[in-house]
């Protein structure tokens, strides 16, 4: 029980305070260290805090080409429990088996030979660049492409669906995982839902894992908008937009609240006390300022409505769990907070 209490305390602390990836830098590696409490609980109890380790060697810098596929697409989010007996050396076999499974699903009842040419080609690859720290497993990308039968062999396959399993600073989960399990708690998909469910079923059957849609609560959306509105951007940024839905009306009513990105950043800079770190109080103050400004002009309490979508130049997120990554410098930070949400959903 004591251990549980400790873990709960740790998670609560974490939720109230988040660290950001420093802007415009390759991913920093964080080291967890146990140290004496600093004014929090006093006495001999242990408190976790994060330290920056020396900058990573140059070969670890993210190759923008390898992760560019993530940008400017609407990704649907899922949380995944750890995969059992997932072997990175067997990715090619997995691709063959998965493509046979998809073909079998498409023509139920007919036998399908493994390995022959099929309509849907599957590639499963490992993206070593897509992770936060060395504790994270490298991401796994699954791509489904359809061959056009009419054209010649050499013609390019058309990508119809992609899914990406990843973990960015998911240390909370990977620290406690049992032998034989691989932690990639966040699953992003782009493409037809029918493929998502087929691929999901195959993974579930093969690695005994469990998928669940990852919705984002209004509370977490407000975290995101505060984090992203305060990011430094070089080029002319697009507006910060918040979409609210008004509850208990006969006809749905959405309110869109757009703010000039420089104004939003200026406001955030007056709110934030410690650079590189955000607290719940700061997020509350930021949102309250926006709410009271809106109330002054329109006499509407936005705090009584439900925040359903936020979009900034860094990324956009919808409460149904749909995210668009828009900025190549900040996508790891976005994936970090999404990994955290996925972990809290499966723990």
């Amino acid at each position: 029980r004591e251990k549980q209490g400790l873990r709960r305390g740790k998670r609560e602390r974490k939720r109230r305070r988040r660290r950001l990836l420093p802007s415009g830098r390759p991913p920093q590696r964080w080291r967890r260290r146990r140290g004496p409490a600093r004014g929090l609980t006093g006495g001999g109890s242990n408190v976790f805090f994060l330290l920056f380790s020396p900058p990573p060697p140059p070969q670890e810098i993210v190759d923008p080409q390898k992760t560019a596929f993530l940008l400017r697409k609407a990704w649907t989010l899922y949380s995944v429990t750890p995969l059992y007996r997932f072997h990175r050396a067997r990715l090619r076999d997995y691709a063959r088996l998965l493509s046979a499974f998809i073909a079998a699903e498409k023509q139920k009842g007919l036998a399908v030979e493994v390995g022959v040419e099929l309509d849907i080609r599957v590639t499963v690859s490992s993206i070593a660049e897509l992770r936060g720290s060395e504790q994270d497993q490298p991401a796994v990308l699954v791509q489904l492409s359809s061959r056009s039968r009419a054209s010649s062999r050499s013609s390019e396959d058309k990508l119809v669906w992609s899914g990406c399993f990843c973990s960015v600073f998911g240390d909370d989960l990977s620290e406690n995982v049992l032998e034989g399990f691989t932690c990639l708690p966040l699953f992003l998909t782009h493409g037809a839902e029918s493929y998502t469910s087929m691929v999901g079923r195959w993974f579930q059957k093969t690695f005994d894992c469990c998928f669940r849609r990852l919705a984002i609560s209004p509370l977490n959306l407000s975290w995101m908008v505060a984090m992203w509105a305060g990011s430094k951007l070089d080029r002319a940024a697009s507006a910060v937009e918040l979409v609210f839905s008004v509850p208990r009306l006969l006809q749905p009513l959405d309110i869109s609240y757009a703010i000039h990105p420089e104004d939003a950043k200026e406001l955030w800079d007056t709110v934030q006390k410690t650079p590189g770190e955000i607290t719940q109080e700061e997020v509350d103050v930021f949102m309250d300022c926006l709410y009271s400004h809106f109330h002054r002009h329109f006499k509407i309490h936005l705090s009584a409505a439900k925040l359903v979508k936020v979009s900034t130049a860094v990324a956009s997120a919808h409460c149904d769990g749909i995210v668009k990554l828009l900025h190549s410098q900040y996508f790891l930070g976005v994936l970090m907070i999404l990994t955290e949400l996925a972990i809290s959903q499966i723990q």
């Binding site: 609560e12 609560s217 509370l219 407000s222 705090s303 009584a304 925040l307 409460c319």
Partner: protein, 141 residues
Amino acid sequence: NFCEFCLSNLSLSHLATSLPLPSERDHLRPRIDLIVFMIDIKSKYSLKNVETSLAYVDASFFLGKVCFLATGVGRLNSCSVETNVICKLGETYNSPVLFCELEVRLATAQRLLRILQICAGHIPGVSALSFVSLMRNSYDY
């Protein structure tokens, strides 16, 4: 309609959207046995509203005659208010917090009715203050 339901069960209950109560009906107002502050966790406004209203409550009410009712707890995905903020509120004002979902309102109404019976002194041998301290102690374990 939850409030209507409570009203029909607790025949003497009154509703107010915020405090302070209007002063013109002060002389007609019956004794207040229990104040239930309702917080919809889907709306940050409701929390703010309760927080400002609390300032108008006489200190003696916090000796067992106040409770917080957080609604909408079944769907954490749509929450705009952190649950531990509400727990903290309960701690600060030394008052119990009930978490409920309005779909199962019968159980919640029965719990409130029971608390009200105790607060109004209808249950022999239990005082409001001792009951509230019992409830508060049960959170710690």
